[in-house]
Amino acid sequence: MSQPTFLLDGQSVPFDDGQMILEAARAAGRYIPHLCWHPDFPPHGSCKLCVVKVAGRHVSACATPARAGAEVESDTPEINTERRTLLQMLFVEGNHFCPACEKSGDCQLQAMAYDLEMTTPRFRHFFPDRPVDASHPEVLLDFNRCIYCELCVRASREQDGKAVFALTGRGINKKLAVNAESGRLADTDFSADDKAAHICPVGVILKKRVGFAVPIGERTYDRAPLHEVALPKSEDSA
């Protein structure tokens, strides 16, 4: 029997049984935007940037199993407008001051805003007060840019076996916390070689003293847009 397929924006995408829509699309070289999803971890379903429309319902493509014959809408004006609104809410909720950010040009949040042509934050800025943690000798934490994707939490817990990070509080009071009595990164066993030190999609977890080793203008998303960079490399060369 041939492999089952579903339709993504009218084009046929094959999938394996149990595969999620986002994974199957990605394997077929089709990009669905995502921030909290990462190939090394189970779906998290929190950023909602991967929202797609299936049979009139909005679902997270990272956490919805593909079904044979399903019609999935992703790259449509309606869905992209919703994604842009989600981005705008992420931007006003934190302090995303790109001109002063070491991650600018390598930041997935920024690159997605470019991809979806978000030119204005549209909503009223919160301007929250989120002090940085520069206590660790090798790594700086700038909480101003956190989007609560929990990738560092998951990487530290599941791959580094350390549980250095956690999210505390709920709703608008949610924040990224460091698992130490003092709350300081220096008082944990965190290391710059941890998986968690390299997984942040935005500019929260930054290795010190290398911030501008690659100049602005020559960075990842200066060279190619996110929807190309985010796809697996083998598909790029295929």
Partner: protein, 181 residues
Amino acid sequence: MSAPRKLRVATVSLAGCFGCHMSLLDIDEHVFALLDKVELDRSPLTDLKTCGPCDIGLVEGGVCNSENVHVLREFRAQCKTLVAMGACAINGGLPAQRNHLDVGQCLSAVFQSRPGMDTAEVPDDPELPLPLDKVHPIHEVVRVDYFLPGCPPSGEAIWQFISDLLAGRTPRVSYPLLHFD
């Protein structure tokens, strides 16, 4: 046939650094093409102090004091199309980095407790506009028609944007000219 009427354009820098205006001058020889099609109203380039009826208003910088509010409202009232140009106009930018601090403490830190300041008091000349407690992006104060991101937007991005506007198209700054930094 007479030439089409030149569009009137006003520009201003509120709580900005004039970097966007410098970038506007970076359009180089396009300046000639631009001046064939527009005439400037209030702008740092004309030094006019009030804004008359205009087709396009380009606003650099956010809103950090009472004078900024006044000027921005004047621009909105006079300009058919109002553009937020650059990071500060769009999200407050650098000046907004003081927003998590108390403005009174900022002023006393600068004027009262800094070594070498001989006045030792916060200036209160009535001609000085009062600072707002927070710096705001301009869309939080008036309706804005279009946004041109960048810190500053490159001359190329500004030229593409203005060309679209002058030609009557919806302005669009797309990859790779769209930058937040």
